[in-house]
Amino acid sequence: MGPLIPNEIIGANWDFLIALLVGIGFGYILERAGFSSSRKLAGVFYGYDFVVLRVFFTAAITAAIGLYYFQYFEWIDLSMIYINPLYLTSTLIGGVIMGFGFIIGGYCPGTSVCGAMIGKIDAMVFIGGIFLGIFFYGETYELLWKKIYLDNFLGAPLVFDSLGISNALFILGLSIAALLAFWITAQIPKFVKRVDY
């Protein structure tokens, strides 16, 4: 039963090879879907290109449905996978800062790597910026961030528990919400000015 490496079904020395394979898949798909272009990414905020929303939502739903079916057939033990811990304050503030970073810089870390690899100079300097940002954070961690970083720890809850519904109902709701979002966003470009890039 998965996850195979934490369960020691296959050896830990496979870990890095699988990391590489996962990365290749991730990078190939991101670039192939057009995530290497900042103006294509920014389109999601201005209504001229919804590729981010489509890829993002489809991937999340595919993975969620897949993982929970895997669990149902007992192919994977979901209690052994990494669930992001919820520190409400830092998750929210960090998310807001990243939101500004996204709308100003046009990339996120993963997509900037893709952009840089196909020669986007703005993506390269964006990575430089991330480097500086993390360095700044590291230098000022104890001074500025430590308190909010550790504030409001709520464990590692799952969203359907937080909402108080069953996982099945949540997945169904999420799927319907995604389909609605896909349908609505397919209509929007008719009403906004086209942007060529």
Binding site: A19, F26, I29, I104, G105, P109, V113, G129, F131, V159
Partner: protein, 176 residues
Amino acid sequence: MENKVLENKRKYMNPYLAGFLLGLVIIFAFYYTGRGLGASGAIKSAVVASVDAVAHKHALASEFYAPYASKEESPLNSWLVFEIIGVMIGALISGIVAGRLKLKVEHSPKISSKTRLIMAVLGGVLFGIGSQLGRGCTSGAALTGMATLSTAGFVSMLAIFGTGYTFAWFFRKFWI
């Protein structure tokens, strides 16, 4: 122009297909290693390795670097670093296949290349800080977090895109 757009369209993968395949990659990652995707973590490793190389004592004294710098092995010897090397290879392959390899600064016609580059650095800095505070970036916290249906993933996603939409209007001339 029309032709170029059409050509680009053809070369980009259908977004739903891309999303589906990306979902399979996430399942694959979880099934084998119990963890999802990430990107900012690798850059963090690079930062820690650099600080450690330049000022080892300083790295050990800092609460932020010490957990990584005090280990025997290099902080670069981590899962996420290998994963990001994979991302580079994958992106390069795709770029070659689609014929998109080209050195350029992509920007809206309303701003200069220089403005775009300054904004890119600024956005990068913000993303660097935000990803550390939020324990992961768009791929690690929001996408992977949503795939596992963790509350933190959804909070993170709403915070990132909520902020993006709220303030998009102020930054519109950079993009459209």
